[in-house]
């Protein structure tokens, strides 16, 4: 992939002046994704933090054609744009190369938007869907989504006397669900590992058909951490095995980055206020269970990738 120096020559396609929180992972992700794109991009966005904060009328932070339609339909809306492009191209009314990227948060992708995404994957539209996963419905006030990890405190899964663990259910593995649709390119990425992320975006954009990248997006507000630590915490997610970096290319799994030694899960949990309750001695059992979950997931992923489990 081109060096940062070369990438820095590209025009900034997301301007400053948007109203995302200081330290928000979403705009870091958007900037890196747009850095990676070599052709003009048309983007759709689901309702959510990114959409709302970048387009408060009469201001828009976008220097690319952009459409927000509703919450659950970033994928289907963009599939209409892509269909229009294909139709007009076939009729000779347009001849440029244009790429299509749909953005959605975990709320608009794992939950309410899952059907639209699944439909796009099955129909085979030529577009890239990127989920910026901050693991809850952040824009409406940090409510739990199916992407919220087990043990996280959210406003609709708070820690209480009767329910001490916060969210009781493990999160959905959307990346695997998408891979099961036999999409030609599926990946998990992380803005702290920009090299890996940009490479994956470029791969996805040059792949014919519906592609998908799930990107972890730290949220200082919802995860309860200092804004200056967003990238650091994003890194911890990879180092502790919580957010493995891998890709699935035509059904072939490949781990794209493996930390030399997996850091203990405790480091990830200690870094954010939403897990603070898990550090209490009475919740030790939950922490152990979560640690086992990470191990199981890693084993399963490595098996799919045909790799050995680390010591």
């Amino acid at each position: 992939m081109p060096s940062l120096k070369v990438l820095s020559r590209k025009k900034e396609l997301l301007t400053g002046g948007h109203r995302l929180c200081a330290g928000c992972g979403a705009s870091i992700i958007v900037r890196q994704v747009l850095m990676a794109a070599e052709d003009p991009v048309v983007m759709s966005s689901a309702t959510g933090c990114l959409e709302v904060a970048t387009t408060i009328y009469p201001f828009t932070a976008w220097r690319i054609p952009w459409i927000h339609c509703a919450f659950e339909n970033s994928a289907s809306t963009l599939s209409g744009v892509e269909a229009a492009y294909r139709s007009l191209k076939r009729q000779g009314k347009i001849d440029r190369t244009i790429k299509f990227i749909a953005f959605g948060g975990d709320g608009g992708t794992y939950d309410i938007g899952l059907q639209a995404l699944s439909g796009v994957l099955e129909r085979g539209h030529n577009l890239l869907y990127i989920c910026y996963d901050n693991q809850a419905y952040m824009n409406t006030g940090i409510q739990r989504s199916s992407a919220t990890p087990e043990g996280a405190a959210t406003t609709t899964s708070p820690v209480g006397k009767a329910i001490p663990e916060g969210k009781q259910r493990p999160r959905k593995d959307l990346t695997r669900i998408v891979a099961a649709h036999d999409s030609p390119y599926v990946a998990q990425a992380n803005p702290a590992y920009y090299n890996d992320l940009i490479k994956k975006v470029q791969k996805a954009l040059s792949t014919e058909g519906p592609t998908f990248i799930n990107i972890l997006s730290p949220c200082p507000r919802g995860w309860r951490h200092d804004p200056s630590l967003s990238i650091q915490i994003a890194k911890l997610a990879v180092l502790t095995g919580v957010w493995p970096l891998y890709e699935v290319e035509k059904g072939q799994y490949r781990v794209t980055y493996r930390p030399k030694k997996r850091h203990p899960l405790r480091e990830w949990l200690e870094s954010q206020g939403r897990f603070r309750h898990l550090l209490r001695p009475e919740n030790k059992g939950i922490m152990e269970r979560l640690g086992k979950q990470v191990e199981e997931k890693e084993k399963s992923l490595l098996a799919l990738a045909g790799e050995e489990t680390s010591a």
């Binding site: 940062l4 120096k5 070369v6 990438l7 820095s8 020559r9 900034e12 997301l14 301007t15 400053g16 002046g17 948007h18 109203r19 995302l20 929180c21 200081a22 330290g23 928000c24 992972g25 979403a26 705009s27 870091i28 900037r31 890196q32 850095m35 970048t54 387009t55 009328y57 009469p58 201001f59 828009t60 932070a61 976008w62 220097r63 690319i64 803005p191 920009y194 200082p220 200092d226 804004p227 200056s228 630590l229 967003s230 990238i231 650091q232």
Partner: protein, 102 residues
């Protein structure tokens, strides 16, 4: 910016000027601002790739300056700088001239 009436705005809620959010100065959000130590900077551009607000201005592949009109002072550039060339300093220590001299 004075608000326009219904006859003077584009129909459909469309925004026709790309990137006009630049007119909205989020720099006023800051309580700390990043300060650059030129001597320590190696122009690795990590600050630039990690800035959530497009507020690191790079020219000729080198760090040029911060965009203080938009920088929210999150401090990611400071924590990620490998040579500690960026320090976060209390905003109050600087005199800021805003639009209209307010």
């Amino acid at each position: 910016m004075k608000e326009k009436g219904w006859k003077d705005i584009p129909w459909g809620g469309l925004i026709l000027e790309e990137g006009n959010a630049e007119e909205y100065k989020t720099g006023s959000w800051r309580t700390y601002r990043p300060v650059w130590d030129e001597k320590k900077c190696t122009h690795c551009l990590l600050c630039w790739v990690y800035c959530p607000d497009s507020s690191i201005i790079v020219e000729e592949e080198k760090f040029k300056q911060f965009d203080y009109d938009h920088c929210k002072g999150c401090g990611i550039c400071s924590t990620q700088c490998p040579t500690k060339a960026i320090h976060m300093v209390e905003e109050g220590k600087f005199v800021i001239k805003t639009e209209g001299g307010k």
